[in-house]
Symmetry: C2
Protein backbone atom coordinates (compact mmCIF):
# COMPACT_ATOMS: atom_id res chain seq x y z
CA UNK A 1 0.00 0.00 0.00
CA UNK A 2 1.32 3.41 -0.97
CA UNK A 3 0.10 6.27 1.19
CA UNK A 4 -1.36 9.21 -0.71
CA UNK A 5 1.23 11.95 -1.07
CA UNK A 6 1.14 15.01 1.17
CA UNK A 7 0.57 17.15 -1.91
CA UNK A 8 -2.48 15.13 -2.93
CA UNK A 9 -3.87 15.17 0.60
CA UNK A 10 -3.29 18.92 0.91
CA UNK A 11 -5.03 19.49 -2.42
CA UNK A 12 -8.10 17.67 -1.14
CA UNK A 13 -8.09 19.71 2.06
CA UNK A 14 -7.73 22.99 0.14
CA UNK A 15 -10.71 22.03 -2.04
CA UNK A 16 -12.97 20.85 0.75
CA UNK A 17 -11.99 23.03 3.74
CA UNK A 18 -10.21 25.96 2.12
CA UNK A 19 -6.84 27.57 2.80
CA UNK A 20 -7.00 28.49 6.47
CA UNK A 21 -4.24 27.10 8.70
CA UNK A 22 -4.78 27.60 12.43
CA UNK A 23 -1.48 28.28 14.16
CA UNK A 24 -1.37 26.88 17.69
CA UNK A 25 1.13 29.21 19.37
CA UNK A 26 0.56 29.08 23.12
CA UNK A 27 2.44 32.24 24.07
CA UNK A 28 2.55 32.88 27.81
CA UNK A 29 0.29 35.94 27.44
CA UNK A 30 -2.32 33.85 25.66
CA UNK A 31 -2.25 31.24 28.42
CA UNK A 32 -2.92 34.03 30.91
CA UNK A 33 -5.73 35.46 28.78
CA UNK A 34 -7.31 31.99 28.57
CA UNK A 35 -7.04 31.62 32.35
CA UNK A 36 -4.62 28.72 31.99
CA UNK A 37 -1.44 28.04 33.97
CA UNK A 38 1.85 28.92 32.27
CA UNK A 39 3.00 25.31 32.32
CA UNK A 40 2.98 22.13 30.25
CA UNK A 41 -0.60 21.47 31.35
CA UNK A 42 -1.56 24.97 30.22
CA UNK A 43 -0.14 24.51 26.72
CA UNK A 44 -1.79 21.06 26.49
CA UNK A 45 -5.17 22.50 27.42
CA UNK A 46 -4.89 25.44 25.00
CA UNK A 47 -3.72 23.09 22.25
CA UNK A 48 -6.59 20.65 22.75
CA UNK A 49 -9.19 23.44 22.84
CA UNK A 50 -7.66 24.98 19.70
CA UNK A 51 -7.94 21.64 17.89
CA UNK A 52 -11.63 21.42 18.87
CA UNK A 53 -12.23 24.96 17.68
CA UNK A 54 -10.47 24.30 14.36
CA UNK A 55 -12.14 20.97 13.59
CA UNK A 56 -15.07 21.37 11.25
CA UNK A 57 -14.26 24.75 9.80
CA UNK A 58 -10.50 24.59 9.14
CA UNK A 59 -8.57 21.76 7.53
CA UNK A 60 -5.07 22.39 8.82
CA UNK A 61 -3.48 23.18 12.18
CA UNK A 62 0.10 24.23 12.83
CA UNK A 63 1.41 23.82 16.37
CA UNK A 64 4.45 26.03 17.08
CA UNK A 65 6.92 23.64 18.69
CA UNK A 66 8.87 26.33 20.58
CA UNK A 67 6.05 26.97 23.01
CA UNK A 68 5.81 23.27 23.87
CA UNK A 69 9.60 22.78 23.98
CA UNK A 70 9.59 25.61 26.56
CA UNK A 71 8.42 22.97 29.09
CA UNK A 72 10.93 20.26 28.19
CA UNK A 73 9.81 16.65 28.09
CA UNK A 74 6.50 17.55 29.78
CA UNK A 75 5.85 20.08 27.04
CA UNK A 76 6.61 17.48 24.36
CA UNK A 77 4.20 15.06 26.06
CA UNK A 78 1.58 17.83 25.84
CA UNK A 79 2.41 18.33 22.16
CA UNK A 80 2.00 14.59 21.55
CA UNK A 81 -1.50 14.76 23.03
CA UNK A 82 -2.35 17.75 20.83
CA UNK A 83 -1.03 15.98 17.73
CA UNK A 84 -3.07 12.88 18.53
CA UNK A 85 -6.21 14.97 19.02
CA UNK A 86 -5.61 16.78 15.72
CA UNK A 87 -5.13 13.52 13.82
CA UNK A 88 -8.22 12.04 15.46
CA UNK A 89 -10.20 15.12 14.38
CA UNK A 90 -9.12 14.51 10.77
CA UNK A 91 -7.02 17.66 10.59
CA UNK A 92 -3.85 17.91 8.54
CA UNK A 93 -0.99 18.82 10.89
CA UNK A 94 2.02 21.00 10.07
CA UNK A 95 4.70 20.88 12.77
CA UNK A 96 6.24 24.35 12.89
CA UNK A 97 9.73 23.45 14.10
CA UNK A 98 12.02 25.06 11.51
CA UNK A 99 14.62 22.34 12.01
CA UNK A 100 17.82 22.54 10.01
CA UNK A 101 21.16 20.73 10.39
CA UNK A 102 23.67 18.66 8.43
CA UNK A 103 22.18 15.72 6.57
CA UNK A 104 23.11 12.93 8.99
CA UNK A 105 21.65 14.93 11.88
CA UNK A 106 18.56 15.88 9.88
CA UNK A 107 17.92 12.13 9.62
CA UNK A 108 17.27 12.19 13.37
CA UNK A 109 14.76 15.02 12.99
CA UNK A 110 13.17 13.28 9.99
CA UNK A 111 12.57 10.14 12.07
CA UNK A 112 11.22 12.25 14.94
CA UNK A 113 8.60 13.97 12.80
CA UNK A 114 7.88 11.41 10.06
CA UNK A 115 8.48 7.87 11.36
CA UNK A 116 5.12 6.05 11.46
CA UNK A 117 5.86 4.91 15.03
CA UNK A 118 6.87 8.35 16.33
CA UNK A 119 4.59 10.07 18.85
CA UNK A 120 5.55 13.37 17.14
CA UNK A 121 4.56 12.31 13.62
CA UNK A 122 3.04 15.11 11.56
CA UNK A 123 1.81 15.50 7.99
CA UNK A 124 4.40 18.17 7.23
CA UNK A 125 7.28 19.94 8.96
CA UNK A 126 8.80 23.39 8.47
CA UNK A 127 12.56 23.19 7.83
CA UNK A 128 15.35 25.77 7.54
CA UNK A 129 17.86 25.87 4.65
CA UNK A 130 20.77 27.76 6.29
CA UNK A 131 22.91 24.63 5.85
CA UNK A 132 21.95 24.39 2.19
CA UNK A 133 19.00 22.87 0.36
CA UNK A 134 21.10 19.72 -0.09
CA UNK A 135 21.23 19.19 3.68
CA UNK A 136 17.44 18.76 3.58
CA UNK A 137 17.32 16.17 0.78
CA UNK A 138 17.29 13.12 3.05
CA UNK A 139 14.49 14.65 5.11
CA UNK A 140 12.49 15.40 1.97
CA UNK A 141 12.99 11.85 0.71
CA UNK A 142 11.91 10.38 4.05
CA UNK A 143 8.83 12.61 4.08
CA UNK A 144 7.78 11.50 0.60
CA UNK A 145 8.30 7.86 1.56
CA UNK A 146 5.57 8.08 4.21
CA UNK A 147 3.24 10.47 2.40
CA UNK A 148 4.39 13.50 4.41
CA UNK A 149 5.76 16.85 3.28
CA UNK A 150 8.02 19.73 4.22
CA UNK A 151 7.77 23.50 3.95
CA UNK A 152 11.20 25.03 3.36
CA UNK A 153 11.78 28.56 4.67
CA UNK A 154 12.46 30.87 1.75
CA UNK A 155 11.20 34.45 2.34
CA UNK A 156 9.99 34.82 5.92
CA UNK A 157 7.59 37.46 7.17
CA UNK A 158 9.87 39.21 9.69
CA UNK A 159 11.60 42.38 8.42
CA UNK A 160 15.04 41.56 9.89
CA UNK A 161 15.22 38.52 7.57
CA UNK A 162 15.33 40.54 4.37
CA UNK A 163 19.06 41.31 4.12
CA UNK A 164 20.14 37.68 4.33
CA UNK A 165 17.33 36.19 2.26
CA UNK A 166 18.00 38.64 -0.59
CA UNK A 167 21.75 37.95 -0.55
CA UNK A 168 22.88 37.10 -4.06
CA UNK A 169 23.96 33.58 -5.02
CA UNK A 170 25.73 33.02 -8.32
CA UNK A 171 24.59 29.77 -9.88
CA UNK A 172 26.44 27.30 -12.10
CA UNK A 173 24.94 29.18 -15.06
CA UNK A 174 26.70 32.38 -13.97
CA UNK A 175 23.40 34.10 -13.22
CA UNK A 176 22.74 35.66 -9.81
CA UNK A 177 19.57 35.19 -7.86
CA UNK A 178 18.57 35.84 -4.28
CA UNK A 179 19.01 33.14 -1.68
CA UNK A 180 15.21 32.96 -1.33
CA UNK A 181 14.63 32.73 -5.09
CA UNK A 182 17.20 29.94 -5.28
CA UNK A 183 15.27 28.00 -2.63
CA UNK A 184 12.07 28.53 -4.64
CA UNK A 185 13.74 27.04 -7.72
CA UNK A 186 15.13 24.06 -5.81
CA UNK A 187 11.79 23.28 -4.20
CA UNK A 188 9.89 23.48 -7.50
CA UNK A 189 12.51 21.33 -9.23
CA UNK A 190 12.27 18.75 -6.46
CA UNK A 191 8.50 18.50 -6.81
CA UNK A 192 8.78 18.21 -10.57
CA UNK A 193 11.53 15.59 -10.36
CA UNK A 194 9.25 13.57 -8.07
CA UNK A 195 6.64 13.58 -10.82
CA UNK A 196 4.17 15.52 -8.73
CA UNK A 197 2.26 17.13 -11.56
CA UNK A 198 -0.50 18.71 -9.49
CA UNK A 199 0.34 19.89 -5.98
CA UNK A 200 3.79 18.87 -4.72
CA UNK A 201 4.76 17.52 -1.30
CA UNK A 202 7.59 20.00 -0.83
CA UNK A 203 6.41 23.54 -0.25
CA UNK A 204 7.73 26.95 0.67
CA UNK A 205 7.33 29.43 3.48
CA UNK A 206 6.72 32.77 1.78
CA UNK A 207 5.56 35.48 4.17
CA UNK A 208 2.58 37.59 3.18
CA UNK A 209 4.40 40.74 4.30
CA UNK A 210 7.11 40.15 1.69
CA UNK A 211 7.25 41.90 -1.70
CA UNK A 212 8.10 38.72 -3.60
CA UNK A 213 9.05 40.53 -6.82
CA UNK A 214 11.76 42.48 -4.98
CA UNK A 215 13.20 39.10 -3.87
CA UNK A 216 13.30 38.06 -7.54
CA UNK A 217 10.47 35.57 -6.97
CA UNK A 218 7.93 35.35 -9.79
CA UNK A 219 4.61 34.04 -8.51
CA UNK A 220 4.07 32.42 -11.93
CA UNK A 221 6.92 30.06 -11.03
CA UNK A 222 5.02 28.75 -8.01
CA UNK A 223 2.56 26.59 -9.94
CA UNK A 224 2.15 23.26 -8.17
CA UNK A 225 4.11 24.31 -5.08
CA UNK A 226 2.29 24.54 -1.74
CA UNK A 227 2.92 27.81 0.08
CA UNK A 228 2.70 28.32 3.81
CA UNK A 229 2.07 32.02 4.39
CA UNK A 230 2.54 33.66 7.78
CA UNK A 231 2.27 37.41 8.16
CA UNK A 232 -1.49 37.97 8.03
CA UNK A 233 -3.23 39.81 10.82
CA UNK A 234 -1.09 41.51 13.46
CA UNK A 235 2.00 41.36 11.20
CA UNK A 236 0.14 43.51 8.71
CA UNK A 237 -0.86 41.55 5.61
CA UNK A 238 -4.53 41.35 4.64
CA UNK A 239 -6.33 38.22 3.50
CA UNK A 240 -8.11 40.32 0.90
CA UNK A 241 -4.72 40.79 -0.80
CA UNK A 242 -4.22 37.03 -1.24
CA UNK A 243 -4.58 37.15 -5.02
CA UNK A 244 -2.44 40.24 -5.49
CA UNK A 245 0.27 38.79 -3.23
CA UNK A 246 0.47 35.27 -4.67
CA UNK A 247 -1.09 35.63 -8.13
CA UNK A 248 -1.96 32.37 -9.80
CA UNK A 249 -0.49 30.47 -6.83
CA UNK A 250 -3.09 31.91 -4.42
CA UNK A 251 -5.03 28.64 -4.49
CA UNK A 252 -1.95 26.76 -3.20
CA UNK A 253 -1.57 29.03 -0.17
CA UNK A 254 -2.13 28.06 3.43
CA UNK A 255 -3.11 31.28 5.16
CA UNK A 256 -1.66 30.99 8.62
CA UNK A 257 -3.42 32.73 11.45
CA UNK A 258 -2.73 32.30 15.12
CA UNK A 259 -3.17 35.30 17.41
CA UNK A 260 -6.12 36.42 15.27
CA UNK A 261 -8.15 33.42 16.37
CA UNK A 262 -6.50 32.43 19.67
CA UNK A 263 -7.07 35.91 21.09
CA UNK A 264 -10.82 35.25 20.83
CA UNK A 265 -10.37 33.04 23.89
CA UNK A 266 -11.72 29.57 24.59
CA UNK A 267 -15.36 30.59 24.17
CA UNK A 268 -14.95 32.70 21.06
CA UNK A 269 -12.31 30.77 19.15
CA UNK A 270 -14.56 28.37 17.21
CA UNK A 271 -16.52 31.30 15.80
CA UNK A 272 -13.31 33.21 15.04
CA UNK A 273 -11.99 30.20 13.09
CA UNK A 274 -15.27 29.91 11.14
CA UNK A 275 -15.12 33.60 10.22
CA UNK A 276 -11.44 33.42 9.25
CA UNK A 277 -11.99 30.31 7.12
CA UNK A 278 -14.93 31.99 5.40
CA UNK A 279 -12.85 35.11 4.71
CA UNK A 280 -10.18 33.03 2.94
CA UNK A 281 -12.79 31.17 0.88
CA UNK A 282 -14.50 34.44 -0.09
CA UNK A 283 -11.23 36.00 -1.25
CA UNK A 284 -10.57 33.04 -3.55
CA UNK A 285 -14.16 32.64 -4.84
Amino acid sequence: MTAASFGARLETVLETSGGLCVGIDPHPWLLEQWGLPTSASGVRELGLRAVEAAAGSAGVVKPQVAFFERWGSAGFAALEDVLTAARDAGLLVVGDAKRGDVGSTMDGYAEAWFAPDSPLRVDALTVSPYLGFGSLQGTIDRARQVGAGVFVLAATSNPEARAGQTALVTGADGASRTLAAGIVDQVRDDDQAAGETRLGSVGLVLGATVDLASYGIDTASLAGVPVLAPGFGHQGARVSDLRSLYGSAARNVLVSTSRGVLAAGPDGMAEAVRDAAEEVRTCLA
Copy 2:
Protein backbone atom coordinates in the same frame (compact mmCIF):
# COMPACT_ATOMS: atom_id res chain seq x y z
CA MET B 1 24.13 38.16 42.54
CA THR B 2 25.29 38.31 38.95
CA ALA B 3 26.20 34.97 37.44
CA ALA B 4 29.59 34.84 35.73
CA SER B 5 29.16 35.29 32.00
CA PHE B 6 29.32 32.33 29.66
CA GLY B 7 32.38 33.87 28.02
CA ALA B 8 34.22 34.08 31.35
CA ARG B 9 33.24 30.53 32.29
CA LEU B 10 34.29 29.23 28.89
CA GLU B 11 37.62 31.01 29.20
CA THR B 12 38.27 29.24 32.50
CA VAL B 13 37.38 25.88 30.99
CA LEU B 14 39.63 26.47 27.97
CA GLU B 15 42.51 27.31 30.31
CA THR B 16 42.03 24.43 32.71
CA SER B 17 40.63 21.62 30.54
CA GLY B 18 41.57 22.68 27.03
CA GLY B 19 39.52 23.02 23.86
CA LEU B 20 38.00 19.60 23.39
CA CYS B 21 34.20 19.45 23.12
CA VAL B 22 32.71 15.97 23.22
CA GLY B 23 29.72 15.74 20.92
CA ILE B 24 27.05 13.36 22.21
CA ASP B 25 25.37 12.26 18.97
CA PRO B 26 23.60 8.95 19.61
CA HIS B 27 23.15 7.89 15.99
CA PRO B 28 21.23 4.60 15.61
CA TRP B 29 24.36 2.84 14.33
CA LEU B 30 26.29 3.91 17.43
CA LEU B 31 23.55 2.57 19.69
CA GLU B 32 23.86 -0.76 17.89
CA GLN B 33 27.62 -0.73 18.18
CA TRP B 34 27.34 -0.04 21.91
CA GLY B 35 24.87 -2.92 22.27
CA LEU B 36 22.11 -0.54 23.31
CA PRO B 37 18.46 -0.55 22.20
CA THR B 38 17.48 1.99 19.52
CA SER B 39 15.07 3.75 21.85
CA ALA B 40 14.85 6.56 24.38
CA SER B 41 16.47 4.33 26.99
CA GLY B 42 19.31 3.60 24.58
CA VAL B 43 20.07 7.28 23.96
CA ARG B 44 19.84 7.97 27.73
CA GLU B 45 22.35 5.21 28.48
CA LEU B 46 24.78 6.30 25.77
CA GLY B 47 24.48 9.92 26.89
CA LEU B 48 25.13 9.10 30.55
CA ARG B 49 28.14 6.91 29.71
CA ALA B 50 29.50 9.63 27.40
CA VAL B 51 29.25 12.18 30.22
CA GLU B 52 31.19 9.83 32.53
CA ALA B 53 33.83 9.31 29.87
CA ALA B 54 34.16 13.05 29.24
CA ALA B 55 34.31 14.13 32.87
CA GLY B 56 37.85 14.65 34.06
CA SER B 57 39.59 15.00 30.73
CA ALA B 58 37.24 17.25 28.73
CA GLY B 59 35.55 20.43 29.88
CA VAL B 60 32.64 20.67 27.46
CA VAL B 61 29.99 18.30 26.12
CA LYS B 62 27.58 18.97 23.29
CA PRO B 63 24.49 16.76 23.09
CA GLN B 64 22.92 16.71 19.61
CA VAL B 65 19.24 17.33 20.28
CA ALA B 66 17.98 15.68 17.06
CA PHE B 67 18.89 12.19 18.28
CA PHE B 68 16.95 12.69 21.51
CA GLU B 69 14.02 14.43 19.78
CA ARG B 70 13.80 11.29 17.61
CA TRP B 71 12.05 9.64 20.57
CA GLY B 72 9.62 12.43 21.36
CA SER B 73 8.87 13.29 24.97
CA ALA B 74 10.64 10.13 26.18
CA GLY B 75 13.74 11.24 24.29
CA PHE B 76 13.58 14.69 25.87
CA ALA B 77 13.26 13.08 29.30
CA ALA B 78 16.43 11.14 28.48
CA LEU B 79 18.13 14.37 27.39
CA GLU B 80 17.12 16.02 30.67
CA ASP B 81 18.83 13.21 32.57
CA VAL B 82 21.96 13.58 30.46
CA LEU B 83 21.99 17.36 31.00
CA THR B 84 21.62 16.89 34.76
CA ALA B 85 24.47 14.38 34.82
CA ALA B 86 26.68 16.72 32.81
CA ARG B 87 25.98 19.68 35.11
CA ASP B 88 26.60 17.49 38.16
CA ALA B 89 29.94 16.43 36.67
CA GLY B 90 30.94 20.08 36.36
CA LEU B 91 30.94 20.04 32.58
CA LEU B 92 29.98 23.02 30.46
CA VAL B 93 27.04 22.01 28.25
CA VAL B 94 26.36 23.23 24.72
CA GLY B 95 22.91 22.22 23.47
CA ASP B 96 23.26 21.56 19.75
CA ALA B 97 19.74 22.41 18.60
CA LYS B 98 20.29 25.00 15.83
CA ARG B 99 16.99 26.68 16.66
CA GLY B 100 15.96 29.67 14.59
CA ASP B 101 12.62 31.44 14.22
CA VAL B 102 11.04 34.90 14.42
CA GLY B 103 11.82 36.84 17.58
CA SER B 104 8.60 36.23 19.49
CA THR B 105 8.88 32.49 18.83
CA MET B 106 12.58 32.44 19.67
CA ASP B 107 11.55 33.74 23.10
CA GLY B 108 9.94 30.32 23.63
CA TYR B 109 13.14 28.53 22.67
CA ALA B 110 15.17 30.93 24.84
CA GLU B 111 13.07 30.05 27.88
CA ALA B 112 13.31 26.34 27.06
CA TRP B 113 17.12 26.36 26.98
CA PHE B 114 18.04 29.20 29.35
CA ALA B 115 15.34 29.65 32.01
CA PRO B 116 16.84 28.73 35.39
CA ASP B 117 13.82 26.50 36.13
CA SER B 118 13.89 24.66 32.79
CA PRO B 119 14.84 20.98 32.79
CA LEU B 120 16.56 21.64 29.44
CA ARG B 121 18.77 24.49 30.68
CA VAL B 122 22.21 24.55 29.10
CA ASP B 123 25.24 26.81 29.25
CA ALA B 124 25.03 27.63 25.56
CA LEU B 125 22.81 26.83 22.58
CA THR B 126 23.52 26.68 18.85
CA VAL B 127 21.16 28.93 16.88
CA SER B 128 20.50 29.49 13.17
CA PRO B 129 20.39 32.92 11.51
CA TYR B 130 18.26 32.17 8.42
CA LEU B 131 15.63 34.60 9.76
CA GLY B 132 18.25 37.28 10.29
CA PHE B 133 20.67 38.04 13.10
CA GLY B 134 18.08 40.46 14.48
CA SER B 135 15.66 37.58 15.07
CA LEU B 136 18.18 36.16 17.55
CA GLN B 137 18.70 39.33 19.60
CA GLY B 138 16.09 38.54 22.25
CA THR B 139 17.58 35.06 22.69
CA ILE B 140 21.07 36.52 23.01
CA ASP B 141 19.88 39.03 25.59
CA ARG B 142 18.11 36.31 27.59
CA ALA B 143 21.23 34.16 27.49
CA ARG B 144 23.45 36.95 28.81
CA GLN B 145 20.95 37.68 31.56
CA VAL B 146 21.46 34.22 33.06
CA GLY B 147 25.17 33.84 32.29
CA ALA B 148 24.56 31.62 29.26
CA GLY B 149 25.71 31.96 25.67
CA VAL B 150 24.86 31.15 22.08
CA PHE B 151 26.83 29.93 19.08
CA VAL B 152 25.43 31.37 15.86
CA LEU B 153 25.83 29.29 12.69
CA ALA B 154 28.02 31.18 10.24
CA ALA B 155 30.13 28.87 8.03
CA THR B 156 29.14 25.26 8.61
CA SER B 157 31.26 22.24 7.84
CA ASN B 158 29.02 20.53 5.26
CA PRO B 159 29.90 21.22 1.61
CA GLU B 160 26.31 21.80 0.45
CA ALA B 161 26.15 24.86 2.71
CA ARG B 162 28.74 26.86 0.80
CA ALA B 163 26.61 28.42 -1.95
CA GLY B 164 24.14 30.01 0.45
CA GLN B 165 26.63 31.00 3.14
CA THR B 166 28.84 32.79 0.58
CA ALA B 167 25.87 34.64 -0.96
CA LEU B 168 26.66 38.34 -1.08
CA VAL B 169 24.91 40.84 1.18
CA THR B 170 25.27 44.55 0.45
CA GLY B 171 25.50 46.48 3.69
CA ALA B 172 24.37 49.98 4.57
CA ASP B 173 27.91 51.11 3.71
CA GLY B 174 27.45 49.86 0.13
CA ALA B 175 30.11 47.18 0.60
CA SER B 176 29.36 43.54 -0.14
CA ARG B 177 30.29 40.70 2.14
CA THR B 178 29.28 37.07 2.36
CA LEU B 179 26.32 36.08 4.49
CA ALA B 180 28.72 34.19 6.79
CA ALA B 181 31.14 37.12 7.09
CA GLY B 182 28.21 39.40 7.94
CA ILE B 183 27.24 37.06 10.77
CA VAL B 184 30.83 37.12 12.02
CA ASP B 185 30.74 40.93 12.15
CA GLN B 186 27.39 41.03 13.94
CA VAL B 187 28.48 38.51 16.55
CA ARG B 188 31.75 40.32 17.26
CA ASP B 189 29.95 43.67 17.47
CA ASP B 190 27.43 42.19 19.88
CA ASP B 191 30.16 40.91 22.19
CA GLN B 192 31.94 44.24 22.05
CA ALA B 193 28.74 46.19 22.68
CA ALA B 194 28.17 44.02 25.75
CA GLY B 195 31.54 45.15 27.05
CA GLU B 196 32.97 41.64 26.97
CA THR B 197 36.58 42.58 26.53
CA ARG B 198 38.06 39.11 26.91
CA LEU B 199 36.03 36.14 25.67
CA GLY B 200 32.45 36.99 24.66
CA SER B 201 29.28 35.07 25.41
CA VAL B 202 28.11 35.04 21.80
CA GLY B 203 30.16 32.79 19.58
CA LEU B 204 30.22 31.40 16.07
CA VAL B 205 30.02 28.02 14.40
CA LEU B 206 32.87 27.97 11.89
CA GLY B 207 33.52 24.54 10.44
CA ALA B 208 37.10 23.29 10.32
CA THR B 209 36.57 22.04 6.75
CA VAL B 210 35.87 25.60 5.57
CA ASP B 211 38.44 27.85 3.85
CA LEU B 212 37.51 30.92 5.90
CA ALA B 213 39.44 33.34 3.68
CA SER B 214 37.36 32.33 0.67
CA TYR B 215 34.25 33.24 2.69
CA GLY B 216 35.77 36.68 3.30
CA ILE B 217 36.36 35.86 6.96
CA ASP B 218 39.62 37.13 8.42
CA THR B 219 40.66 35.10 11.45
CA ALA B 220 42.24 38.26 12.90
CA SER B 221 38.70 39.61 13.30
CA LEU B 222 37.76 36.74 15.62
CA ALA B 223 39.64 38.02 18.67
CA GLY B 224 37.48 37.55 21.75
CA VAL B 225 34.84 35.50 19.95
CA PRO B 226 34.32 31.86 20.96
CA VAL B 227 34.32 29.47 18.01
CA LEU B 228 32.59 26.10 17.93
CA ALA B 229 34.33 24.03 15.27
CA PRO B 230 32.82 20.88 13.83
CA GLY B 231 34.44 19.11 10.91
CA PHE B 232 37.40 17.37 12.57
CA GLY B 233 37.82 13.66 12.17
CA HIS B 234 35.61 11.82 9.70
CA GLN B 235 34.65 15.08 7.96
CA GLY B 236 38.30 15.56 7.09
CA ALA B 237 39.87 18.38 9.10
CA ARG B 238 42.93 17.63 11.26
CA VAL B 239 43.44 18.89 14.79
CA SER B 240 47.08 19.51 13.92
CA ASP B 241 45.85 22.23 11.53
CA LEU B 242 44.11 24.15 14.33
CA ARG B 243 46.50 27.09 14.22
CA SER B 244 46.63 27.33 10.45
CA LEU B 245 42.83 27.15 10.26
CA TYR B 246 41.95 29.68 12.96
CA GLY B 247 45.14 31.72 13.34
CA SER B 248 45.26 33.87 16.43
CA ALA B 249 41.74 32.73 17.35
CA ALA B 250 42.84 29.10 17.75
CA ARG B 251 42.80 29.45 21.54
CA ASN B 252 39.09 30.40 21.43
CA VAL B 253 38.15 27.27 19.52
CA LEU B 254 36.09 24.40 20.84
CA VAL B 255 37.22 21.40 18.83
CA SER B 256 34.13 19.29 18.45
CA THR B 257 34.55 15.56 18.15
CA SER B 258 31.82 12.98 18.34
CA ARG B 259 32.13 9.86 16.22
CA GLY B 260 35.88 9.89 16.81
CA VAL B 261 35.40 9.16 20.52
CA LEU B 262 31.96 7.51 20.60
CA ALA B 263 33.09 4.87 18.12
CA ALA B 264 35.59 3.67 20.75
CA GLY B 265 32.60 2.12 22.50
CA PRO B 266 31.62 2.17 26.15
CA ASP B 267 34.86 0.57 27.33
CA GLY B 268 37.26 2.58 25.18
CA MET B 269 35.62 5.98 25.19
CA ALA B 270 37.23 7.47 28.31
CA GLU B 271 40.69 6.73 26.92
CA ALA B 272 39.68 8.09 23.49
CA VAL B 273 38.53 11.33 25.13
CA ARG B 274 41.81 11.60 27.09
CA ASP B 275 43.82 11.14 23.91
CA ALA B 276 41.72 13.62 21.94
CA ALA B 277 41.93 16.24 24.71
CA GLU B 278 45.70 15.77 24.86
CA GLU B 279 45.99 16.15 21.09
CA VAL B 280 44.18 19.52 21.20
CA ARG B 281 46.37 20.73 24.08
CA THR B 282 49.55 19.63 22.29
CA CYS B 283 48.57 21.47 19.11
CA LEU B 284 48.12 24.72 21.04
CA ALA B 285 51.17 24.34 23.32
